[in-house]
Each structure stands twice: as structure tokens, then as C-alpha cells.
């Protein structure tokens, strides 16, 4: 039986190959996901291990809340001196970290795609978190070093003059060295500017202070001993970690972020695998049906049911293993493709040598093989029920199975249960979010299975509808295509169901993104009363506070109001809430409060300890007007009193406080944004141009009009949407292969019929067209099912997020283009089968064995 199974595979090369592809693509995604994130993780691990090289302990300011761009209380030179005097310490040196924008040769800020724009100082040996690979360490106020990657991308060489905006206005520096980090030439797309310590202290207004101190112990001291000694001389605002702890804690932060990427990518891989399982199930079902005579013959000559089962499952095992092995290896390429995709969306992740962990291999082989076996199980069991007498019959029509009889009830159960889980998981109040989301996702899978199970019932009426224009156009060809598509409803339905999954999700994310875009625009229109907003070119990095007075002096500008931001913790709770520093005097000119409790008077009476809380924070933290709230920020803590409650899903999410309160929480010299109101009757484009001229010294700051902000926000949603499309593409591709596979097998089955049609005068062109129409009917059927599911999912999810301002709308244009896309898939999937069908040898088709 083993040999029979293997011979069978070899004899049916094309369909074996197509089935292998179904397994392979899903596995490729899993493998690629692991390879990519493992590679990135290894690059970061490498980076952190090298960043503490030479140090036994690292001292830093103690912070309540970790946040980029906002440092904890810096360390005094006196602290460093005290550490240096300790008997266990051989050497101590301080480092200063901040941000600085590099200006490219085109005069624009070098884009980092969301990665930070680091500025840091060099330390004397043995501390070398940053090393110079070319040139030398910068000395004095006019010199800098750049990371190798940025220098290469911008075509800067040692000796060039490079403009940098560090803390204040931009100015040119001499590039004297190129820096690397461990074995990395960049920090994952971030830009890096290195200064000497005194220069940085002056630039960033941290005279006599540093952000980190690296400590090396005397020979023979352990890291713990050194850290223990240092601890005795630290002020309460500082803390010490061993070098090992420091690297581990940095790696843990990155691990969390990477875990998120891994989960996201794996979710898409899971969808692809699910789609592949449909394809495997279908291919095996069809081959078993076609081989029923062969199997019956085996049974007549004495093969047991178990032997038949073993033979089919063995075939599945070989296909599963082959697909998994090839898929795992292709994952290496896929990881690169994903990385390229991220790069195209300006998400630059660091990577060194590709990492193929044994975990990746095991998970991939197991998943691919088990899914194939699971998909083949039902068809294999059906094979065992082939009666020996069927060997004597002409090609027998498949008889009704037990599953066929209970299918409608099972489908109804799955649809109701799955739909219930989705609705309940998303719309129910209270309960654990993770559990609810998992329930909803599981419900979605059940719902998909239910719809797939019941869909054969709809194929006839829907095919009639879809084929109507074809039949009008080419009577017989269209008619035959429809009849062929509906001849075996189960087969067509499962083929369509595979496509349905991918397309349902495509439509879901499309509608969701539409809702998101609309809600963003709506929020901006409702709350932003100003005419211009000055932000960092990347949209979120803080900009120098010096921007505000510069803009205020531009003719035509009536009012400017700056906003600062920091992450904080309320009442010692785990989650962080953003705090915004507002200026009650100028804010009303540029911002409309949507008061739930309070009024413009509340704003003017905010005081030094008052806070205005956004509605959702008030709800989740159970805050009412008059409550006292213990608040902790990156550099300190204070107690605030709730004075008012407002609603805002955009600009001022979290809560708003005055300057005095903010300074207690965060030492933040920069501002998030400067909102601008123009004089009455001022010409917006003209003033915007003047502001741009005034801001030339701050190249990282850019003034945008309300419309530009909306457009940019919309664009970033579109970018994420295209990332989702790219990831869902794999599922759609697999299901297209499913159509190719089903058509190829069906055509093989209809060899004689096609021969007859050719003999009585059907042209090759019409044969091709007939197959193409059948393919299009299948694809459009899948798309229509996907449409229903996608709209349902989007509707429920958007309903669940209604409080965030999302609104549901049916995108007619997108739905039409979506159906056109399905038609295209149908046409493309038909190319190979149609050409095979038309090239069929008439003589062989009609001659008898």
C-alpha cells in the first residue's frame, strides 16, 4: 500500500504539486514570521550586549514611567564624583542622551519612519556602547559623528559639513567620525548624532548633568558587588543596575514590541493555513471521488478498509511533509520580503545574519503536516466507505453522506454559535478584553466554517445570477459554465469558501479603515479651532519649544498655543495615561472643548494643581469632579484635583493640566505641537508660507493646515491598510490556487465530455471561455459570501468601537471594485486549466480503454 500511495502521487504530479503549494504558502508565512522576528531580536540582543560593554553597573535617573523623548531626572556631576571615590570602582563616566534631527543634502530632515532620532555622547574607554568605525570621536562644539547607515544613505563622508538641529535652531557641524553599535551599522532605521559631552550638555540645557553613568569595578569585583557599592552613594532620584540587568531589561522592552509583531503576523499566517486546509480537503475529496473505481478494485481484490485509509493518509503525510519543508525554507525569503515591505512603509527594523531557530522548524513542520493530515482525514474516511461493487459501475455519482444530511443543522448551529460569540465578544459590557477578543476570533472561525458548510445550498441560485450576463453574451458557453460550476455544489462551495475567507477580511479591514479615517477627520474638525498646527515632520516627535515664539512673531498670526505631552500613571495604576500641558490663556483660541462637566470658566480656573480629564479616562479610572489623584510622571510625582471632564478622541486624549503641574511630572523642554490661530481675514496659504520661512532654523518643525493634517492622518491609515492587504494577499493567492486545482481536477474528470464537445464542433476558444466562466462564477460566489461576512464583521467591530467615534458605512465603490477583483482572480486562475482543457486531444478523449 505504501508503494501504491507514492506511485499515486508521482502519477498525479500536477495535482500533487498544487496541493503541496497550498500547504507550503501557509507554512512559508509561519516560518517567515519567526525568522524575521528572531532575526530582529538577535540583532537587538547583540546591540544591548555590546551597549554595556566594559561596564559592570549602569546608573540612571529613577523614573515612574518609561517614555521616549522624556528623561528621568538627570544625574549630577557630584553623584559621579561620589561614585568615583568608592574603593570598588575603577572608573566612572557619564553619558547624555537626547534627540537631534539630521538634515539631509536636500535640506530636509532625514526620515526615520517612526524610529527615534538619537543624540548621545561618547564615553572614554573602556565604555563603548558606541564605537567609531571610521574617523575619530568628535571633540569640541563644532564636531559630530553619525551612524554609518545614515551617513551612507545621505552620502555623507568624513570631512563633510552636516547640518543638525539639536535642541534649538539648526547649525552646521564638521562630520569627523562614523559610528557603529556592536556589529550593527544602525539602530533599526534610527538616526544617531554623536557629540562630545560638554557640547551636548550646552546644546540640551543639561549643564553639569548626565543621563547615564557607566561604572567599571576594580579587577576581581563582581557586577553585583559594584552595583551594591554604588547604591550606597546614590540620591533617591537615581538607581543602579548591573550591566547584565540593564541589557536584559532593554531586551525585554524590545521583546514585548516584537512579540506584538510576531502575534500579528502569525494571525495572518493562521488565516493562510486555514485557507490552505480548505484546499487540501477539497483536493483530496475530488481525487478520492475520481479514484473510487480504483479504490473499489483494491477492495475487491482484498484490501482492508484500514489499508485504504493508510494509503490515503500516507499520501497526505508525504504532501504535508514536502510542503512544510519547502515552506520552512521559503520562509527565509518571505522574511526578507516582509522586511522589505516594512521598509517600503518606512518601518526600518535592524537585522544581522538570518536566524532559523529550531523552534521555527519544529512549529512549521508540525503545523504543515498536521493541517494536511486533518484536511485529508474526512476524504480518507470516505475512501474507506467505497463499496467494492463500485469497481464494476461506470463513473458513479457520489452518494449522499451522513455529513450531507446533517450539514444544514450543523451549519445553522455553527453560524448561530459563531455569530453569537462574535457579537457577544465584541459588544458585551464588562469582562476581560483578551478573553472577549479571543472569543470573538474563535466565533469568526466557527462562523466561517458554518457559512462554508451551508454555502452549497446557495450555489445554484447565485450561479444563475452571476452567469446571467455570460449566458446573455454567449448562450451555450455561459450555460455550460454555470452547469459545470453547479454540477458538484460541495466542491465549488469549498473552493469558493477558501477565497471567501481572504476576501471577507480584505473587505473588513477596508470598511474598518474607512470608519477610522472618517472618525479622525471628524475629531479634528470638531476639536481643532485653529488654522495651522506646527508639528515634527514625522508627526509625533516633540519639537524645540523655541518654535512657539518664532511663529507668534509672524505677521498674520493672532494666537499660538503650545502643547506638551508625557506618559503618566494615575493612582499607581498599571496602565499609562497621556498628560498634556496646556496654556489656559491661549488654548480657547485654537481648541474647542466638548465639555461633559465644566465650561470655559473651569479652564480659566484650572490653577496649579487642577486637571481636566477626558471622559474615557474618567470612566476607566472612576474619577469625578473634585477627586484628588496621585499622579506619577517620568521625572516626578504630584497630586492633582479633577476640575472638569471633556470628550476628545484625538488631540487631548488622557488629561490636561497647567504648566506648574506638568513640570512636577516631566522634565520636558520640548513641545508636542504649536497650534496657531490667524488674524481675522488673514490669507491662510500666505501666512503658512511665511511661517515656513520663519521655521527654516527648525527644519524638523513643519506647519500644516487643518486639511493637510487630515490628509496625512488619512494617508497613515491607508499605509497600514496596504500592509494588511499585503499580508492577506497570501490567503487570496492560496485560494486562487484552490480554484486552479479544482478546475484542473474537474477538467480531468470531464475529459470525455470535452472531447465530445470538441468533436461536435466547439472551438478551442469556446472551451477556454467555458472554463474561464466557470472559474469566474466560483470566484465571484466566494466574493459574495466574503462580502456578507466582511460587512458583518466590520459592522459588529465598528459598533463595538462606536464610543471611539467610528462610524459604519457601506463602501459601494470599494465593493464594486472588490467584485471586479474577484472576477480578475477567476480569470487568472483559469489560465492554466483552460489552456489544458483546450489542448485536450480529441481522439484520446473519446476513445475507450
Amino acid at each position: 500500500m505504501t508503494r501504491l500511495a507514492l506511485r499515486g502521487l508521482a502519477a498525479r504530479k500536477l495535482r500533487s504539486a498544487l496541493t503541496i503549494i497550498a500547504v507550503l504558502l501557509g507554512v512559508t508565512m509561519i516560518s517567515g514570521t519567526f525568522v524575521l522576528t528572531d532575526t530582529i531580536r538577535s540583532a537587538f540582543d547583540d546591540l544591548f550586549a555590546s551597549s554595556t560593554r566594559g561596564a559592570d553597573a549602569v546608573v540612571s535617573g529613577r523614573s515612574q514611567v518609561k517614555q521616549d523623548f522624556v528623561q528621568a531626572t538627570p544625574l549630577d556631576q557630584r553623584t559621579l564624583d561620589a561614585i568615583a571615590k568608592l574603593p570598588d570602582v575603577a572608573k566612572v563616566a557619564g553619558q547624555l542622551n537626547d534627540t537631534a534631527a539630521v538634515i539631509g543634502k536636500d535640506g530636509k530632515v532625514v526620515k526615520t519612519g517612526g524610529a527615534p532620532t538619537f543624540a548621545a555622547t561618547f564615553m572614554p574607554k573602556p565604555f563603548q556602547p558606541v564605537t567609531i568605525s571610521q574617523g575619530r570621536v568628535p571633540r569640541g562644539a563644532g564636531e559630530i559623528a553619525l551612524d554609518v547607515n545614515t551617513a551612507q544613505k545621505q552620502h555623507f563622508k568624513v570631512g563633510d559639513r552636516v547640518t543638525v538641529a539639536a535642541g534649538g535652531p539648526k547649525r552646521p557641524y564638521a562630520l569627523v567620525g562614523l559610528a557603529t553599535f556592536g556589529s550593527q551599522s544602525s539602530l533599526g532605521g534610527a538616526t544617531f548624532v554623536g557629540f562630545d559631552l560638554a557640547t551636548a550638555q550646552a546644546l540640551f540645557d543639561k549643564r553639569g548633568k548626565v543621563d547615564f553613568a557607566y561604572v567599571a569595578g576594580r579587577p576581581g569585583r563582581s557586577q553585583e558587588q559594584v552595583a551594591q557599592a554604588v547604591r550606597t552613594v546614590l540620591p533617591p532620584t537615581a538607581r543602579v543596575r548591573t550591566a547584565k540587568q540593564e541589557a536584559a531589561s532593554q531586551a525585554a522592552d524590545i521583546g514585548k514590541a516584537l512579540g506584538f509583531i510576531t502575534t500579528g503576523l502569525l494571525a495572518f499566517a493562521f488565516i493562510a493555513v486555514l485557507v490552505g486546509a480548505f484546499l487540501i480537503f477539497n483536493t483530496f475529496s475530488i481525487t478520492i471521488a475520481q479514484r473510487s473505481r480504483e479504490l473499489a478494485l483494491l477492495r475487491t481484490i482484498g484490501a482492508t478498509r484500514r489499508q485504504v485509509l493508510t494509503s490515503v493518509m500516507l499520501e497526505a503525510l508525504v504532501i504535508g511533509l514536502l510542503g512544510s519543508v519547502v515552506g520552512t525554507l521559503l520562509g527565509l525569503l518571505f522574511a526578507r520580503a516582509i522586511n522589505a515591505l516594512f521598509k517600503a512603509l518606512s518601518i526600518d527594523l535592524p537585522s544581522t545574519h538570518t536566524v532559523l531557530a529550531s523552534r521555527t522548524i519544529i512549529v512549521c513542520l508540525l503545523t504543515g503536516t498536521l493541517v494536511t493530515l486533518a484536511g485529508a482525514l474526512a476524504p480518507a474516511l470516505r475512501a474507506t466507505r467505497v463499496a467494492p461493487v463500485e469497481a464494476l459501475r461506470e463513473a458513479s455519482a457520489p452518494t449522499g453522506t451522513r455529513l450531507g444530511r446533517i450539514a444544514p443543522y450543523l451549519a445553522g448551529l455553527l453560524i448561530l454559535g459563531g455569530g453569537g460569540l462574535v457579537v457577544g465578544g465584541l459588544l458585551a459590557k464588562g469582562g476581560d478584553t483578551t478573553t472577549k477578543l479571543l472569543g470573538a476570533a474563535g466565533g469568526a472561525v466557527l462562523l466561517i466554517l458554518g457559512v462554508a458548510l451551508i454555502s452549497p445550498r446557495f450555489i445554484r441560485p447565485i450561479a444563475r445570477l452571476v452567469a446571467a450576463p455570460m449566458e446573455r453574451f454567449t448562450k451555450l458557453v455561459g450555460r455550460l459554465a454555470r452547469e459545470n460550476a453547479t454540477r458538484n455544489p460541495g466542491r465549488t462551495a469549498v473552493t469558493s469558501a477558501a477565497l471567501m475567507i481572504g476576501l471577507a477580511l480584505v473587505l473588513f479591514v477596508t470598511i474598518f479603515a474607512n470608519g477610522l479615517r472618517a472618525s479622525i477627520e471628524d475629531v479634528i474638525s470638531r476639536t481643532f479651532a485653529g488654522d495651522l498646527a506646527v508639528l515634527h515632520t514625522d508627526g509625533f516627535t516633540p519639537i524645540p519649544a523655541g518654535v512657539a515664539p518664532v511663529v507668534a512673531r509672524v505677521p498674520g498670526v493672532a494666537t499660538v498655543s503650545a502643547l506638551k505631552g508625557a506618559q503618566t500613571r494615575l493612582n499607581g495604576k498599571g496602565g499609562t495615561q497621556p498628560a498634556h500641558e496646556i496654556d489656559p490663556a491661549t488654548l480657547p483660541a485654537v481648541y474647542r472643548f466638548d465639555w461633559k462637566q465644566g465650561s470655559s470658566r473651569t479652564l480659566s480656573e484650572l490653577g496649579s494643581d487642577g486637571m481636566l480629564v477626558e471622559e474615557r479616562v474618567a470612566t476607566s479610572e472612576h474619577l469625578k469632579v473634585g477627586d484628588r489623584v496621585a499622579t506619577a510622571g517620568p521625572s516626578g510625582r504630584t497630586t492633582l484635583v479633577v476640575r472638569g471632564i471633556y470628550k476628545d478622541q484625538g488631540l487631548l486624549q488622557g488629561y490636561a493640566i497647567g504648566r506648574a503641574a506638568f513640570d512636577h511630572l516631566a522634565r520636558q523642554p520640548r513641545v508636542d505641537s504649536v497650534l496657531v490661530k490667524l488674524d481675522k481675514g488673514a490669507n491662510l496659504p500666505a501666512v503658512q508660507r511665511r511661517v515656513a520661512v520663519a521655521l527654516r532654523q527648525f527644519p524638523e518643525a513643519r506647519a500644516r493646515s487643518q486639511k493637510q493634517i487630515k490628509d496625512e492622518q488619512g494617508k497613515s491609515v491607508t499605509q497600514v491598510l496596504s500592509l494588511f492587504y499585503a499580508l492577506l494577499a497570501m490567503s487570496v493567492i492560496i485560494s486562487a490556487f484552490g480554484i486552479v486545482n479544482t478546475l484542473t481536477l474537474s477538467i480531468f474528470e470531464r475529459t470525455r465530455e470535452l472531447g465530445l464537445l470538441r468533436a461536435v464542433g466547439m472551438t478551442r476558444r469556446d472551451v477556454r471561455r467555458m472554463v474561464r466562466y466557470e472559474s469566474v462564477i466560483t470566484a465571484v460566489f466566494g466574493a459574495l459570501l466574503g462580502l456578507v461576512l466582511g460587512v458583518f464583521f466590520a459592522f459588529v467591530v465598528i459598533k463595538a468601537l462606536e464610543s471611539e467615534g467610528l462610524k459604519f458605512s457601506l463602501p459601494i465603490v470599494q465593493i464594486v471594485s472588490f467584485l471586479a477583483f474577484a472576477t480578475l482572480i477567476g480569470v487568472l486562475a483559469a489560465i492554466l486549466p483552460a489552456s489544458r482543457a483546450s489542448r485536450l486531444d480529441v481522439l484520446r478523449a473519446i476513445s475507450y480503454e
Binding site: R487, L757, G761, M762, L843
Partner: protein, 248 residues
């Protein structure tokens, strides 16, 4: 009924010096070794011979389903060797009718649609009501909406004969049309083919190894080892059986 009828005396099918060789060199097998045959309009020709005599090969070549290694075939005055696939397809559609042993009908189409198939494929409309006529002729008027699976073997074969007649072809090729049928039903089918010749002046070429079937024909061509060994006018079943025994 006369649209495709050539001038009297002009053969509708001409096969000249037909040789069919499979494989090359030492392993080459000659299925046909120089067969010439002509079919007159309105004639009923049976091709007989033992298994492997080349009778099916000859029919495939004459019907333009296969190409001779040497020799020429012409149907209704058109030489097949010069035609590309689409021209050949059109010729089959308009000039040739087929009746096979089995797998004769498109399973998803009704009896009536199957009969109409050649007309539909060539985009002709049936203004003369030929399909109705044929439905009556094969006595299937009450079964017109049935699909092949709902018809008996004999009924299916009657549909196939009606379909072969639908396009008023120059010639009908029947390949063992009674091979799968019992003797009563066989008689019906042979009667239909006979009527096609007598009433519609249709030329019919039938390959068969059944002496009773061949006895319906006007002419019997005997093949053995790829050669024509006898070409006789109408014979009865006894005579045919004697010839066959002599050949074997």
C-alpha cells in the same frame, strides 16, 4: 436537406493511400498500410474487421480526428491536411456528425439541448424546426427536457443519432454505435441510421464488429492488418460472418 449534398457521383469522403504509423524505427507499428476508400453521398458503409485490423484508426482519419502519416483525406471536397485546428473544428461542426459507442451526450444539457448542440455551437438558428422534426423522428418528444442520466441507454443513443443529423452534415461517422446496447435497442438505432440514409439521403460510415449491424449497410469494407481485404455491396449477416471467419 440538400444544403451540403454534393453533386451526384462526387464522393463526400475520400481517403487516398492512407498509412498510419505509430512510433519510429524498429518499434514502429503500422495500423494502416495504404488504404484508399471513397464514400458516395446517400450511402451506408460499414467498416468491419477483427480487433487490431485498423478499422477505428481508419474512421478517425476519415473523420479528421487524427492525422495520417501518409496519404490524404478530403471531406465534401475539402482536403483536411491543409486545415488548422479552428478550420478543422468548423468543418467537423458543419460537415460531420458523430455517434460514439458511449459518452455521447453532455450530461448537464437536456435531450433537446444535446440535439441542438451542433446548431448552437455554429450559431445557427433552427428556423426550419429541424430539432422538432428530429425529436419526433427519434420518438423523444416527451423526453425533451430530460437529462442524459434520466434516459435509458437506447434513448441516449437515439438522442446522439438525432444530434448527428441536426447540422445536416455531409457524412455521419458511427463508431460501434450499438456496442453497449441489447439487440432490440440495437435494432432501433440501426433503423434510425438506415432511415437517415433512405429518407434524408445522408451518407453514413459505421465501424462495427457486429455482423447483424453491418448487414444493414449498403456496402461492407473488410479490413485486416491495416489493409482493405474486401469491399462488397450489401451482404446479409450469414455472409458477413463467413467472411469474418475467413479473415480470422
Amino acid at each position: 436537406m440538400t444544403a451540403n449534398a454534393p453533386a451526384p457521383g462526387t464522393p463526400v469522403v475520400v481517403g487516398r493511400d492512407l498509412t498510419k504509423r505509430y512510433g519510429t524505427g524498429e518499434a514502429a507499428v503500422e495500423a494502416l498500410r495504404g488504404v484508399s476508400v471513397e464514400v458516395a453521398p446517400g450511402s451506408f458503409t460499414a467498416i468491419m474487421g477483427p480487433s487490431g485490423s485498423g478499422k477505428s484508426t481508419l474512421m478517425h482519419l476519415l473523420a479528421g480526428l487524427d492525422w495520417p502519416t501518409e496519404g490524404k483525406v478530403a471531406i465534401a471536397g475539402t482536403e483536411l491536411g491543409r486545415l488548422d485546428d479552428s478550420q478543422l473544428t468548423r468543418l467537423r461542426r458543419d460537415q460531420i456528425g458523430f455517434v460514439f459507442q458511449a459518452f455521447n451526450l453532455v450530461p448537464v444539457l437536456t435531450a433537446e439541448e444535446n440535439i441542438r448542440l451542433p446548431l448552437t455551437l455554429s450559431g445557427r438558428n433552427d428556423s426550419a424546426g429541424r430539432v422538432e422534426l428530429l425529436l419526433d423522428a427519434v420518438n423523444l418528444r416527451d423526453r425533451r427536457t430530460h437529462r442524459p442520466a434520466e434516459l435509458s441507454g437506447g434513448q441516449q443513443q437515439r438522442v446522439a443519432v438525432a444530434r448527428a443529423l441536426a447540422s445536416e452534415p455531409a457524412v455521419i461517422f458511427a463508431d460501434e454505435p450499438t456496442g453497449n446496447l441489447d439487440s432490440t435497442t440495437s435494432g432501433e438505432i440501426l433503423g434510425l441510421l438506415r432511415r437517415a440514409v433512405d429518407e434524408y439521403g445522408q451518407a453514413v460510415v459505421m465501424v462495427t464488429h457486429d455482423a447483424a449491424a453491418a448487414a444493414v449497410a449498403d456496402r461492407v469494407v473488410f479490413l485486416a492488418d491495416g489493409r482493405v481485404v474486401a469491399d462488397e455491396p450489401h451482404l446479409d449477416a450469414e455472409q458477413i460472418l463467413d467472411r469474418m471467419k475467413a479473415l480470422a
